[in-house]
Structures are given as C-alpha cells and as structure tokens.
Amino acid sequence: MADAAAPYRIKGETGDWEVVVGLEVHAQITATASKLFSGAATAFGAEPNTQVSLIDAAMPGMLPVPNKECIRQAVRTGMALEAVINRWSRFDRKNYFYADLPQGYQISQLFHPLVGEGEIEVLLDEKDESSAKRIGIERIHVEQDAGKLMHDQHPTMSYVDLNRAGVALMEIVSRPDMRSPAEAGAYLRKLRAILRYVGSCDGNMEEGSMRADVNVSVRKPGDEFGTRTETKNVNSVRFVMQVIEYEARRQVELLEEGGSVAQETRLFDPDRGTTRTLRSKEDAHDYRYFPDPDLLPLELDEAFLEECRASLPELPDAKRKRYEGQGITPYNASVLTAEVETARWFDALLEAGAEAKQASNWVVAELFGALNRLGKSIEESPVSPAQAAELLGLVADGTISGTIAKQVLEIMLETGEGAAEIVEKRGLRQTSDTGAIDAEIDKILAANADKVADYKGGKQQLFGFFVGQTMKAMQGKANPQVVNERLRAKLDG
C-alpha cells in the first residue's frame, strides 16, 4: 500500500491510534421514472403524498412487482465497480416499525444480494499516481427507500409524506478498508463520480439522493478491529470526514479512560460537528429477515447482462488512462475525468479536432477559471466545445498567441461570437513579421540602454522585462516565440 504522506493517526495519551472506516452508501436510482415495486413517480420535490400508489401506502392486499430498469441500473453500477453480478438473487423483508415505513417492513436483500464483491481505485493525491489505493466493495443490493417524516410542522404531531417510500435504493457496502477521513472522502467522491458516469444515480447529496452511513472503529496499529459505531444518514462528503474525525477522537478518549465503545447507532449533528447516540444495543432492532413470500427469486439471463455491459460508457479510470496516453498530465487527466459532465465536454472538444495536451491545459487553466467567475457549470458554458476547438486551432496554427487567446475567450464569453470572427473583426492576428518585431525590439532596447547594460552584466532575469515591453508595444500581437528568438539574437548575439 503506497502512502504518499504519513499514515493518519490519532494521538492519544497511550500512543498512536489508527482509525478503521467502512461506508454504506445509499444511492437512489434516479435514472428511473417509477419506483422499485410500484408504478408511482420518483421525481424530487412533488407535493406531499402525490407520488404514492396504494402499494406504497401499504393498503390491505397490495403486492410488489419489481421494476426492470431499477435492476438494470443496479447491475450496470455493479459492473462499473468491477463487481461480481449474481445471476440469482432474492428479496428479503427487513421487519421493523416506524412511521415512514408503511408496510412495517422494508423489501431489501440480505441473504443473496444482486451484486457481490468489487472495488474502486482512489487517488489520495491527484498529482501523484503512486498515491492510488484500492478500496474493496463487499456487496450491492437493491431495496426500498422509506418515506419522510417532518417533526417541526406541529407541536404534538409529526407529519408523514410517503412520496419517497418505495423509491429504489442501491446500498453499496464498502469493505472496512479506509484508514483516514481523506481516504473516505476520496472514496465517496470517486464513487459519486462513477455513479454519475453510469447514470444510475445523480449523486445529489443535498437532495438526499445519496447518503452515507459511516462505520468507525479505532485500534492500535496491528491490533484486531475494535468495536464500531454506525453514524447514519450523513449527507455530504465534508460531513462524512467530520464524523470520522470526531468519532475516532471520541472513541480514543473513551478507551483511554478505561471505558469501552458501545456498538450503537449514532446521528451526526452538523451544527455542532458531533455525533450522539440514536439507538443503544438494548433497543437494537431485531429485523427478523426472511425471504419475501410475495416475490420469487430474481434470475438474470446472459442477454440481459450483456446488454448492461454494452451500455456502459467509458468509465473515469479508463478515460483517465486514455487521456494520459494522449499526452495529458496525470493531474489534468484526473481533473478532467472527475465529473462526467466535464469529461463529456472535453471528449467533444477532442472530437472537434483540438489537440489533447493543449486542450487539457487550456480547459483546466483558462476555461475553468472563466466559468468559476461567471458562476456557471460546464454544461452551462457559453462557449461550446466546437467553438473552443476553433479558438485552440487558431493558437495552434500561430494565428494568435496564447496571450491574445485569453482576450479572445473573454470576448467569446461576453458576446457569443466565434473565435475566428473575433480575431478578424478586431484585427488580433499575431504577427510573426520579423521586420516589424525587430523594429519594435530596437526601439525598446534603445529606450532602455541601462537595463541592457545590466542584463549583459549578468542580470539574466531582465530578459522577461524586454519580452514584456515588446509584447506591450505590439499590443500582444507579436508571436512570442519570434519575439524571444529575436531578443536572444539581439541581446546575446
């Protein structure tokens, strides 16, 4: 295991402790129009109880019928995580009582999940390939989401909205392979990116379409795993990392005081950055899992699996390697593949004819900055990949310099005009005319004789000053390479 930095440790009174982290991510299958076992709609934000069928409300005599597309998306997700797909799996009932659970049980998969073991590779440092770590996935299963309870609308009553009840969830269970908040953060971000590439889940943690249960335990390095706690329903990467930090420290302090960690479920309080007990072991649910007798075992045939596989897009790791193969730096490749929308945009840019290395530098250095300033996402970019390709082409063939290109981009963003049009209309062509350049250089050198003397006397750094002055005098339109050559010739020659 390559650790670019020192391993993460919690410093206690009795020495250094290691934290062990596992994550159970609940990802809503947002790609489907209807729910896992009912035909009600799944769209976010509807009026309460308007996306609820008789099945979702658990009326007497109602029965579940599974949604093919939910299964398909879960299989595709498993394949993207390089996991084993179980052609035979089964639904089980998880029995407990709560107001957001109309049936009094959740249809889930305990004994035989749809997807088995897989793994994700995360880069702990985007600039450093050797910081790669493989985090194991234990299993993925599909299950029903619960409804929503609101406790603040009435003094003595809670309100129940079942719109979300029955929406399909993928529960993605990692192996307890993470050893720091940073690793957990990297895992979540990578998982989210993959889900969005696959298209099964939009990964929108604020809206609740992706949430994490964080399992944390501590031990002295080399010891057996300690007792773990589970902090439920954490809905941002930052919060997950906070939970790990807080829980690890809390457990270390507890253990060093001579206490023991209770195996319990906890809740995160984002305002305080702390966790507190939700359920103690005595109150622990006995879920009495058993196979759901209203459903038969799920059996998938080869044709179904093949179609799932064929439908997968190029995934982040493969895309990153392809970009690197085309000369893009590892860092840029990571940045460009982190989000599927960015990757799509960049692929379109390459397809429009831009050269990979140049394009990647430009997108990361120039475009992102511009979009940030405008407060726009890449899908909202006023400049299209085709337009960007045109701009980059003008730099590549020497029509304009890189400096001028920055100007042109600003104008493109403002006016929506094409690059070539702008260059023509505003006469921004750079000149490689040695005659004109020499003339300007001579003027500059003549006006700065003292600096010329200093330069010849050893102050090499003044070269940049002469370049700058020349470019300024020529309003940036001089070909920088030619300026450099001619200055060198005149100063050093």
Partner: protein
Amino acid sequence: MSVTNEQVRHIAKLARIAMSDEELERLVPELNNILGWVEQLGEVNTDGVEPLTAVIANKLRLREDKVTDGNCRDDILANAPVAEHGFFAVPKVIE
C-alpha cells in the same frame, strides 16, 4: 425450548402489541404449548434439503419502467385516522 416471561415481553415489544402483566402470564404457557408442539419438526432429517423458495415453479416478472400509478392523494388519505395538509399525522417522534 420454552419461553420465559421476559422473552415474551420482548416479543410483544418487537410486535408492538401492548400486553398487561395478566395477559403476559396467560400467554406464556399458551405459547409454550404451541412451541412445544411445533418442535417435533426437530425429529425430521432435513440434511441436504433446500428450504422451499417457490411454491409452484414460476419466473419473477420484471415490469417496464413507466409511471402508471400515484397522483391519487385523495384515495391514499381517504381512510386515514388523522390527516392534515396532505400528510398523515402521527404522535410526534423525537429523533
């Protein structure tokens, strides 16, 4: 194997059925009677026998992903003991 009062109390809690001490007292021997009777299954040799997964051979059908249901709030709330502003209302839960 027989059940104790404590176990029965715990089961009643899992099943969310309120039970007075008298009812519990009466129920324990009843349950033990039934459990003792069903325990004769222990006599049966079931080595290598799979639990029944499907009563009659059948294939689990998967349905097309279409919105065919919902948007019937009136029906959903029609029989609710307490409903307000489009929600079901329950005694307040502290989380």
